[in-house]
Subunit: 233 residues, 2 copies
């Protein structure tokens, strides 16, 4: 049975952990401090119930430190907040990450300059979170994908128009991208709707789409949308 | 007959000028120096023939300075290069712009840091070209739209899937946006595919989509595409 480490315990991490469990994976979620995480009874910024509540209802999911989760996982999924991703992965320890595929679904949102958030200047435009992770951990196979939509759609695209909308994938390793595509197909992504944008620098494109996503969300009040690339044949 | 000033003589300006002529408008294109523009026989960065060639074949279009065009136009369309838009509009002179609708279809692309271009840092993330134009010319009704696609689709959306793909519109004046929507509908945009994102600050979203556009173009080699927003009802 394949072992997955889901770094981050927020809504995105929960969506992936649940979905991987239903697909028969073993899942360990990683967090900074397990005791503090389980003792925390506050709702998150979006009004979601505390992690401990979700965790009680999802007993098949294990919880460990970033380090324990990374050691456990054969594949690593980064669902931490973009501003904290590099720090979390450093806590996971490079030796527990090296040689593995790291699926990065996070976005470098900057909440310090008002709402809707902008992007962290040092991780956008001429850089990206995906690239920064790849530069920081050169022996990890970073694959950026699925960061362009609401987490419910990431892991269950068929809920919207039978999956007839587009996801993007970027990374330096063609082999790693193929393996991640297989996972995406198991989520329900049709192969023709997984668009390979090239190497990890293409993460600049998918991350810089977020400000448009946030404004479409703001204008429509509906996060359950995605974009479909429509081409003239 | 409605008079339009098209600022900028590149491929985008040409697409608009031709389209407005076929729709029965009077069109004057604005450029920095008319004599130099007509004497220039070089191809542009994309290998397109010199403006003078296109101009000879489009005799219904007038050509003037930015100032002459702005004076002529009842509506102004900005199709200059984003990095030069503020300067071009200053040359047009604020008194020739005040009170008018300015349709901004430009993008603040920065070609100084390699290809594909990034965005000008001072005109992205916590600012945008659309906002900068609005701040510089507070008595102009700036409407940002159609900057998210290849110029052929901007003015003739029906060529791709009958127009079944999405355009965005942003601006502080609801009345100006309604008038621009009417023009877009005359181009062939279905009303349901013109998504109002709100005030001019939403231009941050549509302009920051460009890096993704450029990477989709790079990966597919096909610029004749657009995105469609697909929503769960």
């Amino acid at each position: 049975m394949k072992k997955i480490a889901v770094m981050g315990t927020g809504g995105v991490g929960q969506a992936y952990a649940s979905r991987f469990i239903t697909l028969g994976y073993e899942v360990m979620m990683g967090t900074r401090n397990v005791k503090e995480k389980l003792a925390d009874t506050s709702r998150d910024a979006y009004g979601n119930p505390p992690f401990s509540e979700w965790y009680s209802a999802n007993r098949n999911v294990r919880l460990g430190t970033f380090q324990e989760a990374a050691l456990f996982g054969e594949i690593i999924l980064n669902a931490t907040m973009g501003a904290k991703s590099i720090g979390a992965l450093k806590m996971a320890d490079v030796k527990n990450l090296n040689g593995k595929i790291l699926i990065d679904v996070a976005n470098p949102l900057d909440f310090s300059k008002g709402m809707p958030p902008s992007l962290l200047p040092e991780l956008s435009n001429t850089n990206s979170l995906g690239e920064e992770i790849q530069k920081t951990f050169p022996d990890v196979k970073v694959v950026k994908t699925l960061n362009t939509m609401w987490n419910g759609l990431m892991v269950n695209p068929a809920m919207l128009d039978g999956g007839n909308h587009t996801s993007f994938i970027c990374g330096n390793s063609a082999e790693a991208k193929e393996k991640v595509k297989e996972i995406m197909k198991s989520f329900g992504w049709p192969e023709k709707e997984i668009l390979d944008l090239g190497d990890i620098s293409s993460a600049r494109g998918t991350e810089m789409y977020l400000p448009l996503w946030l404004r479409i969300f703001g204008a429509t009040g509906n996060g359950a949308f995605n974009i479909k690339v429509v081409s003239l044949k």
